[in-house]
């Protein structure tokens, strides 16, 4: 099992390298010139050339890539092309909002969704199950901004709570104040991941519930509660952790849309600005950060799957 995990870690590392290649060269597809962008239209050819040399843009792409990757690993993220500010500063100004919303969503949304999904699996075919399934089938296919609109309709227009835009500072706020501050983004994202989580956790538990050893437990007269908590959950826990990690990875996309929708600034708005101003140094950095988060979560998902296999946990 250790060797399997090491192997998976190795693959994860290779993936990260491949990701960095894609992101670095992806932004180099067209001959957009960083030096030109940074100097603006009026710059003289000599000035631009001097800057190119300073930025290392006269070197080969491979050298540029290696330099960039080396700097990134050392935490030197470079300087924004559009605003001439070190990217580290840009990020450190904004990352809290993104972090608060994702973590709070994970902490609030995930357990509730899991409970709902597992309960649906406990009573398959019941009214509760069918209603929940219908809602999740509907929400899973709807865009994030549709869910967000529904939330605004419900809270702002129908109930008259808060506004459709998140404003104000988070400075010095406690957990509960933060939750109420980000109430709309968090509820929206919770619904978005809930639709996936409910479906997938329900399927994971049902899959276990339909296995012959559960049938055997029923035929042994084992009470329902014990069947679920001792016989089924023990085997479903791996797939469920896997599902949770996958869905947290999906959150990356959701976070971007929600930030724009509710108009507060975070890493997502930063990357969208970067794209709009064609500041690819910034896009490269943030792209790497988002992708790394994603890759790590996928890695956790896979390791959870290994860990849940009793054959690997208790070798012969």
């Amino acid at each position: 099992m250790t060797s399997l995990i090491l192997k998976r870690l190795g693959i994860g590392l290779i993936t990260v390298l491949a990701v960095s290649v894609i992101i670095f060269f992806g932004t180099k597809i067209l001959p957009g010139d960083a030096a030109q962008i940074r100097m603006g239209q009026q710059a003289t050819a000599e000035n631009v050339a001097a800057l190119r040399e300073k930025l290392g843009l006269d070197k080969s792409y491979v050298m540029q890539y290696l330099t960039w990757l080396g700097n990134f690993v050392r935490g030197d993220l470079g300087i924004s092309l559009s605003s001439d500010v070190p990217i580290v500063n840009l990020i450190s100004d904004r990352y809290q909002n993104t972090l608060y919303v994702s973590v709070l969503t994970a902490v609030i949304g995930v357990p509730i969704s899991l409970m709902l999904g597992i309960m649906a699996a406990m009573f398959p075919g019941s009214l509760y199950d069918r209603v929940l399934t219908f809602i999740s089938v509907t929400l899973v296919a709807a865009p994030e901004f549709f869910t967000a609109t529904l939330m605004v309709l419900l809270f702002v227009f129908a109930l008259g709570i808060g506004t459709a835009v998140v404003v104000g500072s988070t400075e010095g706020k406690g957990v509960f104040e933060l939750i109420s501050h980000f109430a709309l983004p968090i509820t929206t994202l919770s619904f978005v991941i809930a639709s996936q989580l409910i479906r997938m956790s329900r399927a994971a538990v049902l899959n276990v519930m339909s296995s012959p050893y559960i049938e055997m437990a029923i035929l042994k007269g084992v009470p329902r509660r014990r069947i679920i908590f001792r016989h089924a959950l023990l085997n479903a826990i791996g797939p469920i952790v896997n599902v949770v990690a996958l869905n947290l990875a999906y959150l990356v996309t959701g976070v971007i849309v929600v930030e724009i929708y509710f108009g507060y600034s975070g890493l997502a708005t930063l990357i969208v600005q970067g794209v709009q101003t064609r500041d690819f140094v910034l896009v490269q950095c943030l792209g790497m950060i988002f992708c790394l988060t994603y890759v790590v979560l996928m890695l956790i998902a896979d390791i959870a799957a290994y860990a849940s296999n009793p054959r690997l946990r208790h070798p012969k």
């Binding site: 339909s210 296995s211 012959p212 050893y213 049938e215 055997m216 437990a217 029923i218 035929l219 042994k220 007269g221 084992v222 009470p223 329902r224 014990r226 001792r230 016989h231 023990l234 085997n235 009793p310 054959r311 208790h314 012969k316």
Partner: protein
């Protein structure tokens, strides 16, 4: 329970029991159509029938349980006088595991992979409060001893995947018996086991049922097994009882034509001198197909040229023209691998395969169309062997066109002739495989091989997925085809009686090596290779009392021992062999002992020592 005064007490009774399947559109389809039978204390009742007979469904009714998609549609299922078919799960729970317990076909799937064995074995009585954990543990330990499990003190501390299949099957019996139930329901509990393992498990079951004084419902398709274990037999067909009565009467004097057909489909091992032989018309003295010094396996080659997962070692087999060679062995012995090597589907790691004395290229891609045509392979599972998106006419027509160049009306005519040959109606040509039954599909599968007009047809377990009667009919068909076409057949099977009723010659494989080969007669009569002897003595006879006799005479040690293990040198049967010579057998490859023409026994013992 053993001290129960009333020996005649009825434990379970099915009264006009009806069970239906619920279709997607809500309509009901009767599966069990009014079945009556009784089980008295101390009695074993066998429910026997082929797939679709409803035998498993009926047996589960004793627990008040229907598989998802089924429901009780009428009648009564009386367990100790209470109709369990009308009770809710909550009402049933106290009786399950205590009054009635269930043993499923596959123990490997029935044990929870994440919970230690002992907890699962003792769970039911402890939860129901009939035993404390300590009492249950004690009972379990007694059962482990009674079931002759290795290391009974510690086996409960293991996880299910850490013990062998045969052991797990016995542990499931312990799980069922731990609550000391009045009624045991056993659903094909030995079907998944190898024949040499089955006999031990069967013996253990029979003894334990007797000692515990329980009643039992034993579900199986195998009459020979039934003859050993049942007091009464209920014969089922299509959800109805066709005949029911004491074992002696059903086995020896069956009345109903269906029971008679079931009995006729069972072919006992031929007595010495009674083996099959084909007509000599096509016989010639050169082998059609030959394997010389073949080593084979999977997973690529290591540095020393041996496969990473070796399966076959030093195989020498020749298939004479017009002859039928049976290859027999238990799961994991490499018989399918040998067939695949002969067919070219798996290139040998070393050694060669010859067609008419000429070496064949090991890989399929390098063989000529002519070479491919001459050797055809028939797969075990017709379901996966026939492309579900092609009509029968395309499935059979393609080899006709590909090898013989026939087109249009000629091709169609040939397809119809092929259907005639395998006794299928001509209009089947325009059907898809899923519109055919299992036996019919297997016939198409066979016809496709014959369509190439081959010289050798390799049949890999072609009857093992079929019901007894259907399988017997396929064998009859094969016999006829052999007479009429002069094609050589290689027939691979784990079932010695099927092979011996069809093959002229038999090759006995054990752990990737040939143990013995020769004419069917010679192989099945003394002198035997020790493994052949074990195999022959393990095939159940449809005769009451056989189990006890066999248990007396056979070499008990050989049956109990664990899984088949491949060895790099010496005789792989060494560990299980009662005649093993320590120091020699496990280190030196056994010599070939000749006993008359073509009969070879690979053993360190002299032929004379292998006699009686």
């Amino acid at each position: 329970m053993t001290d129960s005064p009333n020996q005649n007490e009825v434990i379970f009774e099915a009264k006009n029991l009806q069970i239906s399947a619920i279709r997607d559109d809500g309509t009901e389809l009767p599966i069990v159509k009014g079945v009556d039978f009784k089980v008295r204390r101390g009695e074993v009742i066998a429910l026997i029938g082929e797939s679709g007979s409803g035998k498993t469904t009926i047996s589960l009714s004793a627990l008040g349980y229907c598989k998802p998609g089924l429901k009780f549609a009428g009648g009564e299922a009386l367990l100790l006088g209470k109709d369990v078919s009308k009770m809710s799960t909550d009402e049933l729970r106290p009786s399950r595991g205590i009054n009635v317990a269930y043993l499923a076909q596959s123990a490997a799937a029935t044990f929870n992979p994440s919970i230690k064995i002992n907890e699962q074995v003792t769970e039911s009585p402890v939860l129901h409060g009939t035993k404390t954990q300590a009492e249950a543990d004690e009972k379990a330990l007694k059962l482990y001893h009674a079931l002759e499990l290795p290391d009974p003190e510690n086996i409960g501390d293991r996880f299910p995947h850490q013990v062998s299949g045969g052991q797990l099957q016995r542990l499931m019996a312990a799980m069922a018996l731990c609550g000391e139930p009045d009624l045991l329901v056993l659903d094909e509990p030995t079907t998944a086991l190898d024949v040499t393992t089955q006999i031990e498990v069967l013996k253990a079951f029979k003894q334990v049922i007797k000692e515990e004084g329980a009643a039992a419902i034993y579900v199986t398709h195998d009459l020979a097994v039934v003859a050993q274990i049942a007091d009464h037999i209920v014969v089922l067909y299509n959800g109805e009882v066709k005949e029911a009565g004491p074992t002696d009467i059903i086995i020896n004097r069956p009345q109903h034509p269906y029971t008679k057909r079931l009995m006729n489909a069972i072919k006992p091992l031929p007595e010495a001198g009674q083996g099959e032989s084909s007509s000599d018309e096509y016989l010639r003295k050169d082998p059609a197909l030959e394997a010389k010094d073949v080593d084979a396996g999977y997973g690529g080659l290591d540095a020393d040229g041996t496969p990473k997962f070796p399966v076959l070692r030093d195989i020498n087999v020749a298939i004479e023209r017009g002859k039928t060679v049976g290859i027999i062995g238990e799961s994991g012995c490499g018989k399918s691998t040998l067939a695949r090597v002969l067919a070219g589907l798996l290139p040998a790691a070393s050694g060669e395969v010859l067609l008419h004395g000429k070496t064949l290229p090991p890989a399929l891609a390098n063989r000529t169309r002519d070479q491919l045509q001459k050797v055809q392979f028939v797969y075990q599972m017709a379901d996966t062997a026939l492309n579900p998106r092609q009509k029968i006419t395309d499935i059979l027509g393609r080899p006709v066109e590909f090898y013989l160049g026939l087109k249009g009306a000629d091709k169609r005519q040939r397809v119809e002739e092929l259907l005639d040959m395998v006794e299928l109606p001509r209009q089947f040509a325009d059907r898809y495989p899923h519109e055919l039954s299992g036996g019919q599909k297997q016939r198409v599968n066979l016809a496709r091989a014959l369509a190439a007009e081959p010289e050798v047809v390799l049949c890999d377990e072609v009857t093992s997925a079929l019901d007894t009667i259907v399988g017997a009919n396929v064998i009859e068909l094969l016999k006829r085809l052999r007479r009429e076409t002069g094609v050589s057949f290689v027939f691979i099977s784990h079932d010695l009686s099927t092979v011996s009723n069809f093959a002229d010659e038999i090759v006995v494989l054990y752990a990737g090596r040939v143990a013995e080969q020769g004419s069917t007669d010679k192989v099945l009569s003394p002198p035997y290779h020790p493994y052949t002897r074990l195999l022959v003595s393990s095939v159940p006879e449809t005769r009451i009392g056989w189990l006890e006799e066999a248990a007396q005479t056979r070499e008990a040690k050989a049956g109990v021992a664990g899984a088949v293990k491949l060895t790099k040198k010496g005789c792989p049967f060494f560990e299980r062999c009662p005649l093993a010579i320590p120091g020699t057998c496990e280190t030196i490859d056994p010599p070939q002992r000749l006993d008359g023409a073509g009969h070879i026994i690979e053993c360190h013992r002299e032929v004379s020592e292998l006699g009686g």
